[in-house]
Symmetry: C2
Subunit: 483 residues, 2 copies
């Protein structure tokens, strides 16, 4: 560089565009280098405005966003999964992400499946559970095919209690199990006796207490309103749920007291919620689900209505092709690991919790939650930048979910696969990290991006609609729901 | 300006330094003008490093900040004021701010005094109460002379229950009444029958329930830790207490359930806390008091240990002159008013709640609470700027109260009257606004600065220490405590 500096008569700086290895090499030699994080867009496109069948994409997208933003999300009670979730009959287990069978399931989903078999009494030991599940003795179906979402492994069995979250504006409802807490828990693939024991206590004690309390509140509890408030209070309601959990406890506590006859049980219920800052996640997720589902099935619409991972594959669905999954390999999470664990222990990206980003919060609302970087890594400025970037791939700004740090600007909402393809920016996700082996549990939390390929495939499929090349009920249609 | 532009051959801009009237006049004529908000420092000083008696100011200030920052604040229970507050015997009422008697009391303090006389049964009607209070039948003393703080009027009578907040590090404790809620309440000067009735319910039902619950928690509830968490959750714990209130409810609810035998009463207690987002203020204030009191009385120390207003005067006390108040006229609040009210209805600045700024949160931590601008006015950027400015007048950064939006920088703590004098910047305050007449209540909330004069007077007094010109137990010493 000395020679170069002499040539120009003054010090020069290097601007590196592309592979950062070049910049790192110069930087290590003490050269002043600016590394531009640039990748060419994966597919060169002029913006699709009409499908081959003639659908108006902009109008379709406006309608999708209108439905997502204008819906409501109210928890009205709980029930056993088999009593409310369509198609939960027989030996069926729901799981997170796109469809998958035992042979391709990752470790933590297998672990959760084994735990659910033990919980249901379908097996007496982990070995029996594994034998049953691997031999076709259990039917598997995605949560998303049953108006349901599940964090991490997302396994739901027929006897598990689930929250009922309603969207009175559009008349639909969504379901999710209750959050089990931290440490060794089913959703991270643990299945030891204390995991199953806790699930039984939740069904026997927690479920009836919370169900009584919520049904005694005349209009239920407005989860969308709690999310909006929690976004003012440092949560993004995906990986930070401390405010949401606190607000939910405030909202339900008086009714819990009014409807409980046993002070000790009441104290245990309140202490369980207080001990788990993620308790609210299992309410923010079905809220996101119930808000996004009405946007499914709009002809020509390029808005994403589902993003979900099963730990092996990442899958999306777009409104214009409602039954069809577009999948790619699930990503590796860059994260902060608990003491004693490292990236070598990490399973690939897992869970239905990316429904929160789909509905316009979670990773979309990182600017609301600067303190989250202590959990998932990065700096508060990164959190602001993450949200700012997401405006480039979203169709609109939310009118209810607002960001104080951005002068009360609405969160980015309505991921448009056209914009993802044009910008080369895929949605930013934040997530917990499960150990890759069954039976262990959570090992950390972190950040990543959704794989670009599924967005490009979805765009090509929408564009081709009317060609006879693809059909809205193609591969990945949800038979589970109809059975 | 056209002539001037011709002279220079290009458009010129005006930079106005000083009285903004000049800038406004030009701006109204369409001239491009930058108005610099500049005032000369009120007293030209070289930084005081040693008092005339030889005390080392820097060392004294380091010690004061060490004590403020390293203390603890734990609520361990409640009691009736007369049973725990020193000197609460006979017909005595405590009030916010520096010492004041009936003849100079503002409307809302008079209203609260009348309400307290009715509550205590010292008078049977508002007229009797006024006659009693105005004729010397009640002794008045500042809360701050009794290890006590009170929001707004801050009136404490002997039969009112008070929180007990302890600082085990330094062995001191502080007291504050429970927050009554919003609307017509004693602290804003209301005294109608429902106000007094609510106070009675609080003493008869709320007090024993909360006292039992907190005493059943082995180490009490760590309010300093809740403040630190709430600062991550959009509160500054003075005028925004939504997170603090939520976290406190979480912390106390299980024990409340365990120690209550009546479900309906328990439900009412929980609902009362849930209905009042400022419930936590009356815990954050005594926490600030118990943290700052150990810093009082350090020879030569220029750190502020008290800022408080009685609605007529604003007063401060500095560590090096612990018994002495330095006062100036209380400021007018620029605020947002409730529908039907305007600045013409507003009483001057009122209350002990500026103890929060004294302890390194409240206005010092505005950057934590961008959403507060919806309540007190301004923009989120103003909130960030307010905190940044306060670093210029504070001696240190807190090691426990951190600001996510400033990359987890500690809040400014330890207001140094030297720096206030040097910079011409006085502390920024945010506050509720009471109606100026007795009996009405809150009319808004807003922002202002502490009056500069008392800081300049305090600096001169510290500087002169050893001259025999001033004494640490001069005017405003607190006889109330010793009686």
């Amino acid at each position: 560089m000395t020679t170069v500096n002499a040539l120009f008569g003054k010090p020069v700086k290097v601007v590196n565009v592309g592979l950062s290895g070049f910049a790192e090499s110069l930087a290590s030699q003490g050269v002043d280098v600016i590394d531009v994080d640039f990748r060419p867009p994966p597919i060169a496109v002029s913006r699709l405005s009409r499908t081959r069948s003639g659908a108006d994409v902009e109008a379709a997208n406006r309608e999708a966003v209108r439905r997502i933003v204008s819906g409501q999300a109210v928890v009205t009670g709980l029930a056993l999964a088999r009593d409310v979730i369509p198609g939960m009959n027989g030996r069926i287990l729901l799981h997170a992400g796109p469809p998958i069978q035992w042979d391709r399931m990752c470790g933590p989903v297998r672990g959760a499946v084994m735990g659910a078999c033990l919980y249901e009494g379908w097996a007496g030991s982990p070995e029996e559970a594994e034998a049953l599940a691997s031999s076709g003795g259990v039917r598997f179906d995605p949560c998303h095919h049953h108006h349901t979402v599940g964090p991490m492994a997302g396994v739901v069995s027929p006897s598990m209690p689930v929250w009922i979250v309603e969207n009175p504006t559009f008349g639909n409802r969504a379901f999710c199990t209750m959050n089990e807490g931290l440490g060794k828990v089913l959703r991270f693939g643990a299945f030891s006796p204390e995991v199953v024991e806790r699930l039984r206590w939740m069904a026997d004690v927690l479920f009836p207490a919370l169900d009584r309390a919520i049904r005694a509140i005349p209009d239920g509890i407005d989860i969308k309103a709690l999310i909006a408030q929690a976004l003012y209070m440092g949560d993004e309601c995906h990986n930070r749920n401390k405010a949401g959990t606190s607000l939910f406890l405030r909202a339900v506590a008086p009714s819990l007291a009014r409807t409980s006859s046993n002070g000790d049980t009441l104290a245990r219920v309140l202490a369980l919620i207080d001990a788990n800052d993620h308790f609210f996640l299992n309410l923010s997720m079905p809220a996101a689900k119930v808000l996004t589902e009405p946007a499914e099935g709009i002809d020509g619409c390029t808005i994403v209505t589902t993003m979900a991972r099963n730990g092996t594959e990442f899958g999306i669905r777009v409104s214009g092709l409602p039954g069809r999954w577009f999948t790619a390999q699930a990503g590796e999470v860059e994260g902060l690991f608990f003491p004693g664990f490292s990236a070598a222990d990490a399973n690939r990206d897992l869970g239905d919790s990316t429904i929160t980003e789909t509905a316009g919060f979670g990773g979309m609302a990182m600017a609301c939650a600067p303190a989250i970087v202590k959990f998932v890594g990065g700096t508060p400025q990164d959190a602001i930048d993450a949200t700012l970037e997401m405006y480039d791939i979203c169709a609109a700004e939310h009118d209810t979910f607002l960001i104080p740090n951005l002068d009360f600007r609405g969160t980015p909402v309505g991921i448009d696969v056209r914009r993802v393809a044009e910008t080369g920016l895929s949605p930013r996700l934040n997530t917990g990290i499960a150990h890759k082996d069954p039976g262990i549990g959570q090992v950390g939390a972190g950040l990543l991006r959704a794989p670009m390929d599924c967005f490009a495939s979805a765009l090509r499929a929408i564009e081709a609609q009317g060609d006879g090349e693809s059909s809205p009920t193609g591969a990945g249609g949800h038979p589970g729901e109809e059975t």
